[in-house]
């Protein structure tokens, strides 16, 4: 049996008549499930963002953090139940900033622009998924150079996101020199993206059947490599800081079959959508999947550190293979119909998108982002940790709150 084959990885509510459920991490397929008994399963709850946990009893203190506070970059509220310094349980409420992003009913161009803004820092992943879904429904073979271009954009984004996560951990541990150097490094990477793609977050670049405007890939891998080498220099010092390691070791430990991304790989599970995706193949890029075993914030960080180097290597390989990336212009007037599910390995892990197209219009769209799973990981893993561990447990999972909002 494949890893997590019976694990619920997506739940599509088909309107009061039970659910359509996707099981396992491979190529997505959906099964109708009328049985509401699955609602009690942890993996189901993780997919639908149901957090009903609370603690009661003498001397249990319940307080809230958020939705807007200086310590959080994005708005979310946490209900925290404590006994003394100990967190007994935690119930996140991520719906405050839910924008109810309207994508269905849109033509392909507007759908693409809105999906880019579903989660800005991860825009190439989601716009790439939408593009791959549409191209596949159209029956078009994916152009190899376009595939490599998308791989490069995704891997740069992964490096940027991972550096940001590690910088936030260093900031939490008051490692001031380290976090300043790491934030500077991320800025360097954003400038590189802007120079080569015209936008710091890859907006306006991914199109259907090609890129919307031309991008400069020549020599990109050596620029990325220089940044990653600098990162390694900073990391060598950071991993030698007892203060830093003490804060993340043994913090927010959890191992579950439904976990995705660095959280899953840090608990020894060998899953990575890049190994399985038929929409963005990595099979000729010799992907090495990073695994660790501690299942805590330190192990997740070690996986990220490894993945930063691995992404640089993939970019090198992809650049050596890329020739001319097609420029497709901004829109397509195709009248396609069909339904398809695609997945991608975002920096936080496996994300799933299901798209129904009718006459070239997005009729229905469903996204199960990795942040849903990671927020559930946080809610379970932070139990029995101390309040001072909160920042490290949370930031170490690289959760994007914008990803948790609904897409209509």
């Amino acid at each position: 049996m494949m890893v997590g084959e019976d694990v619920i990885t997506g739940v599509f509510d088909s309107g009061g008549r039970g659910y359509e459920v996707s099981y396992g991490f491979g190529i997505p397929s959906w099964k109708k499930v009328a049985d509401h008994a699955i609602e009690g399963r942890e993996d189901f709850k993780a997919c639908v963002g149901k957090y009903d946990d609370k603690a009661e009893g003498a001397d249990v203190l319940n307080f809230t953090y958020g939705p807007s506070t200086g310590g959080l970059t994005e708005s979310i509220k946490f209900n925290i139940y404590t006994y003394g310094e100990r967190i007994l349980s935690l119930r996140p409420e991520p719906s405050y900033k839910d924008r109810k992003l309207q994508v269905s009913g849109s033509g392909l161009e507007m759908a693409n622009l809105r999906i880019e803004r579903y989660c800005g820092p991860l825009s190439p992943f989601y716009s790439g998924m939408l593009a791959a879904a549409v191209e596949s429904v159209m029956g078009a073979d994916q152009d190899n150079d376009l595939r490599l271009a998308r791989v490069i954009m995704n891997e740069i984004s992964r490096i940027s996101d991972h550096i940001h996560v590690i910088a936030k951990l260093a900031e939490g541990a008051s490692q001031n020199v380290a976090y300043n150097l790491l934030f500077a490094l991320r800025e360097k990477l954003l400038r590189l993206i802007a120079r080569r793609f015209g936008h710091r977050y890859f907006f306006g670049i991914n199109g259907f059947g090609g890129l919307v405007r031309s991008a400069n890939f020549k020599g990109i891998s050596s620029e990325v490599r220089a940044i990653v080498d600098e990162f390694r220099q900073i990391w060598i010092r950071l991993e030698n800081s007892r203060i830093f390691i003490d804060r993340i070791q043994g913090t927010a430990t959890l191992k579950r079959a439904w976990m995705v991304g660095p959280a899953a790989r840090a608990s020894g599970t060998h899953i990575d959508a890049r190994m399985e995706s038929s929409f963005l193949r990595y099979d000729d890029l010799d992907l090495h999947v990073s695994i660790s075993s501690g299942a805590d914030t330190l192990a997740r960080t070690l996986v990220r550190v490894d993945e930063i180097s691995e992404s640089a290597r993939i970019i090198e390989r992809a650049e050596s293979m890329i020739r001319e990336v097609p420029v497709a212009g901004r829109t397509t007037k195709s009248e396609v119909n069909g339904e398809i599910s695609v997945r991608a390995e975002t920096p936080g892990g496996d994300s799933l998108m299901r798209v129904t197209l009718a006459k070239g219009i997005i009729e229905k769209i469903y996204i199960r982002p990795s942040s849903l799973q990671n927020l559930a990981v946080f809610a379970y893993a932070i139990r029995e940790n101390l309040l001072t561990d909160f920042t490290f447990g949370y930031e170490g999972l690289g959760i994007h709150i914008s990803e948790l909002g609904g897409v209509l």
Partner: protein
């Protein structure tokens, strides 16, 4: 292995001289698209009227190229009111009303060594109660209306409210702007605006050197 101190000392200076000198590296598609006369452009955000662009609506997509090309000027903000009391020290509070996450990161980037806003006496604070300015990003999500109202009420006087990014200013292509809840003193266009543009707006809003 070099210590942090020696590592820092051997690293070259990164901090920009902006706003006293020109921005050294601007991401072009956050600046104002201007007509080149090369054909017609259809703007997905309806930001183009004849030959001019309403920057409050522009989502920095670049789809108008080559009929319009960005002018490369960091100054796209509009400052309706200034407050000189903040010249020496300026405390700002970032408020996410419903963003995609990128505007937040561009505002937060102001503390990285490239921009280092502390050299200009600007710093983040942890609550609107201690803030001189509220920096609002994102569209007005249903659940954030009340928290936004409360944050504005908590601001001491004098105070400034910034709408940063197309979403907060006009709703962009995502939703409603924040204008139904709060009047803004400064608007900073872009999707997202780049950190130079945000820094320039902060400086101008306090009547500072720029």
């Amino acid at each position: 292995m070099k210590t942090w101190l020696t590592y820092g000392l051997f690293s070259k200076r990164l901090t920009t001289k902006f706003p006293f000198k020109a921005a050294e590296e601007l991401p072009v598609w956050t600046t104002m698209p201007v007509s080149t006369g090369a054909g017609e452009a259809i703007c997905p955000a309806n930001a183009i009227q004849d030959t001019s662009v309403d920057m409050g609506m522009c989502i920095s997509c670049g789809y108008c190229s080559p009929a319009f090309e960005p002018d490369g000027n960091a100054r796209t903000s509009i400052v309706h009111s200034t407050e000189k009391a903040f010249r020496k020290s300026f405390h700002i509070y970032l408020f996410d009303a419903g963003s995609c996450g990128s505007c937040n990161l561009e505002v937060k980037a102001l503390v990285n060594p490239y921009y280092d806003m502390s050299r200009l006496g600007i710093s983040f604070c942890a609550t609107p109660k201690h803030a001189d300015a509220l920096i609002v990003v994102g569209v007005l999500a249903e659940g954030m209306g009340e928290p936004l109202r409360r944050a504005v009420e908590a601001l001491p006087s004098p105070r400034l409210v910034f709408a940063v990014g197309a979403c907060a200013i006009s709703g962009g292509i995502i939703g409603k702007s924040i204008s139904g809840v709060v009047e803004t003193d400064v608007i900073v266009p872009g999707c997202p605006p780049n950190p130079f543009t945000i820094l320039d707006a902060l400086q101008r809003s306090r009547g500072g050197k720029h």
